[in-house]
């Protein structure tokens, strides 16, 4: 598997994603500069966390006009695998590859802590190494992660299995107390209708070895690796 990690001006989790893939997953990985128009044959493109273009205007609003994003959008529309983490999730909603929007946290504070996520759909490319109801321990670090969409659109997401992860307590219960930012339906991650694009606010690339407090992030990277290995027919960039 070959992974491309996009670096926007202001990205700050690009090295974490790079190291998770290279040092722990032991797969090929390249940085993709925001001014480039070449995805270098990636099987998976990661839009990492950070503050692309300083989050000016709105988080992700300027990043969507980067030259690399034209290629990422084209790749995603042709079925290529794209994963946005935190700021990357914000970019994906801004450019329309994922539904909804990420608003200021309801309590207005930046939140940096471990949370628990319940796997809601284990049949996606990104979660197939998990089981429905599994609880993953993964950290968040964001000020604008409050997932919002209209009620009728949320129903569409729910009905079509596009909710990949929900914030929960350690036992897997979906509660208001376990919701760190006010997200609708405790949503922590969604996929597009086709299932080849995932956005999530928590950072799986930060928890890939026990020494980091959890290795649950590997479940997501391993899911993608298995999907890429199984389907040589998957779209290559």
């Amino acid at each position: 598997m070959k992974v491309g990690v996009v670096t926007f001006p202001g990205s700050n989790c690009d090295y974490d994603a790079y190291q998770a893939v290279r040092a722990v997953l032991k797969e090929e990985v390249e940085f993709l500069w925001h001014k480039s128009s070449d995805l270098l044959g990636s099987d998976l493109v990661i839009l990492p966390g950070g503050f692309a273009y300083g989050d000016y205007l709105r988080a992700g609003a300027i990043a969507k006009f980067s030259p690399i994003m034209d290629k990422v959008i084209e790749f995603a529309r042709s079925g290529g695998l794209v994963m946005g983490i935190c700021n990357g999730f914000q970019v994906l909603t801004e450019c329309g590859l994922l539904p909804g929007a990420l608003m200021r946290n309801e309590h207005l504070r930046f939140s940096c802590k471990f949370v628990h996520l319940r796997v809601e759909n284990d049949s996606t490319v990104f979660t197939q190494a998990c089981h429905h109801g599994d609880v993953l321990k993964i950290p968040i670090a964001h000020g604008e992660g409050n997932y919002y969409h209209f009620d009728d659109e949320l129903k569409v997401l729910e009905d079509s299995g596009q909710v990949a992860f929900r914030y929960c307590d350690a036992a897997g219960n979906i509660t208001d107390e376990a919701n760190p930012n006010g997200s609708a339906h405790n949503i922590a991650g969604v996929t597009n209708r086709e299932g080849n694009v995932l956005g999530m606010m928590p950072h799986p690339e930060r928890v890939v070895e026990d020494i980091l407090g959890s290795n649950d992030g590997m479940r997501i990277f391993e899911s993608v690796r298995a999907a890429v290995a199984a389907a040589s027919g998957l779209v290559k960039s």
Binding site: L57, R58, A61, G100, A101, M103, E106, Y148, H149, G182
Partner: protein, 83 residues
């Protein structure tokens, strides 16, 4: 003296979308004793200076708003043209 035109764009959250900043400001106002103020909604504005030679400017401003200045999922905008 330039004859450039100006337009002011106001962007705000759609009705019904929770505005945590507005709520917090409102709470502060109540604490300060301004209990006649019933609610606060926040937003932002942009001043666009537009070349006097520009054509089809209404359409262009509309594009600028919907493609960049506002996120149509959560925000609405209004345009006020000056001069």
């Amino acid at each position: 003296m330039s004859d450039n035109k100006k337009a002011v764009v106001h962007v705000r959250l759609k009705d019904g979308v929770l505005d945590p900043q507005g709520v917090t400001i409102h709470k502060a106002l109540l604490q300060m004793g301004y209990d006649d103020i019933q609610s606060v909604r926040t937003g932002r504005f942009f001043e666009l200076e537009i070349s006097e030679k520009a054509s089809d400017i209404d359409r262009k401003i509309d594009e600028v708003c919907s493609k960049l200045l506002a996120n149509p999922v959560i925000e609405k905008y209004s345009v006020e043209k000056l001069g």
